[in-house]
Amino acid sequence: MNHRNAWTPWLFIGPAILLLLVFAILPIFVSLVISFTDIDLVGLGNWDAIEFIGLENFINLFQDPLFRQSLYNSLVYVVIGVPLVIICSFSIALLLNYATSKLFTIFRVVYYVPSVTNIVAIAVVWGFLYNQDVGLFNFVLDFFGVDPVPWLEHPFIAKLSLILLAVWKGLGINMLIYLAALQSIPNSYYEAANIDGANKLQKLRYITIPSLSYATFFVTVTTLIGWLQFFEEPFVMTGGGPLDGTMSMALFIYQEGFQYNEFGYAAAASLVLFILIIVVTMVQFTFNKSDKD
């Protein structure tokens, strides 16, 4: 288009580009450089105190039992959490797609609301519900004659408790994505299947699920990336405990960086997380491609 001045487009994109350069692009390089140094709080004030230490941070990381624990925990979060989110949000979307009445619109809001509410507030509330002595969950279980569950007091159960909360929180947004995808499936597919005498299960298996492969791919990738960065829930509810059972990689990075001020060490850990995210995403893209072939 013929705008008069070559600088005009830059007036529009300039502010955004400048901020992205300083706060998104530059940090990647800074992160890369400092991960090979021993920068800490002293080094922050006095650059002469910073030393280049090569791969030492990375070697130390993989010998650090806490970091290995956080890697293992993140793996558990992903392996259990991601399929749960996909199955639950898909099922709810299917149910919500059954009718278009006012009632169903209200339910759409009800199921979506957890995903827009503040995660810290939610974590605080769930912490109360999970309380071993005065929490609602154990009271209800007790009512049915079940022994109290140490929701946040046992290393493995605590992981599951955090997953349950995160699934609840993650339902809404993924359900909306599935709902949009469901509504874009042409009705003619189902009509054709009706003529062929297909039953409900067959229609689900041969029309609905294949038509949603892109939505499933999108949900899987974003959920995976989100769960690898799991932070607020363990930060507010368990602080990584008990016995580091809920320590996530993101929480590890935060603690090393901003509680112990080991910036170089934390930056190295963050790069490991970054590489993990890239690898996982690439694997997803490859799978998605071979699906299509």
Partner: protein, 271 residues
């Protein structure tokens, strides 16, 4: 007949599921009006027997929640300035041709892949170099631009006819006047969704204010609430009141605007 039964079963499943999903919210609100002793009594009461506002008064009178509330609102306000920058950039990428446009745009999209944990340490060091740690600017600046928003807005802007812009130029309108008086009003549908999501994002911001603010006077509601949870771990009713203060504004906003968000999802092309 079979159809009707099916619909009844599905509705019933949705009702039960919806109730289960909403329990934390009911419990939060009801508990926030109970005296502390009642909130932790066993068996729990459902409805507050001794209805009280004491926790809300406590939050705002003794626990600085008024300051946190103001700080959160300031962040929300500036996030709208960020949205303006995002919108300008989206327009720039959609409607101008210039050297290097594709490369710059790919660069913008690439920033979406950077996780918060990777940038938080270097961004902190950069802000420290600029003497902006523990300042409101330091809290606000890094979050102003979001590549994903630029992308969505650009997608929408490409659908605006070029002729409209050309004829405004021929009439002698200047570029920013075209943007504010023609483009923005035309972009209401996409902007409505963006405003809501930007509001919710800024309202809920936690990790970054937690890192940058050392001074209580700069805390946001999220940070204040997390702090409250750490310090008054045993005071459940008080925590529930704090959580309610955080959650209710978003819930109310959302009731009014949910239809735009759902529409927005259907039009922005995530299918």
């Amino acid at each position: 007949m079979k159809q009707k039964l099916e619909k009844w079963i599905i509705t019933l499943v949705l009702v039960v599921g919806g109730f289960l999903v909403s329990i934390p919210f009911f419990w939060m609100i009801l508990s926030s009006f109970k005296p502390e002793r009642e909130a932790r009594s066993m068996p729990p009461t459902l409805w507050p027997e001794n209805f009280t506002f004491e926790h809300y008064l406590n939050l705002f009178q003794n626990l600085n929640f008024g300051t946190y509330f103001t700080n959160t609102l300031i962040i929300v306000l500036f996030s709208m300035l960020g949205l303006l920058f995002n919108t300008m950039a989206g327009y720039g990428f959609a409607k101008f041709h210039f050297k290097g446009k594709e490369a710059v745009f790919i660069g913008v999209l690439a920033t979406m892949m950077i996780p918060a944990q990777v940038s938080m340490i270097p961004v902190y060091l950069i802000l420290n170099q600029m003497s902006l740690t523990n300042t409101m600017s330091g809290i606000i600046l890094p979050g102003l631009i979001a590549a994903f928003n630029i992308f969505l807005i650009r997608q929408f802007m490409t659908t605006i006819p070029n002729d409209l812009i050309e004829s405004a130029r021929i009439d002698g309108a200047r570029e920013f006047r075209i943007f504010f008086q023609i483009i923005l009003p035309l972009s209401k549908p996409v902007l409505a969704v963006q405003v809501i999501l930007t509001f919710v994002g800024a309202w809920n911001s936690f990790l970054w204010p937690l890192i940058v603010a050392n001074d209580q006077g700069l805390y946001t509601l999220s940070v204040g609430l997390a702090l409250l949870q750490g310090q008054n771990a045993s005071s459940f009713a008080l925590q529930m009141a704090g959580a309610t203060v955080m959650v209710i504004p978003v819930l109310i906003l959302f009731m009014f605007v949910q239809k735009y968000i759902v529409q927005g999802f259907n039009t922005t092309g995530i299918k």
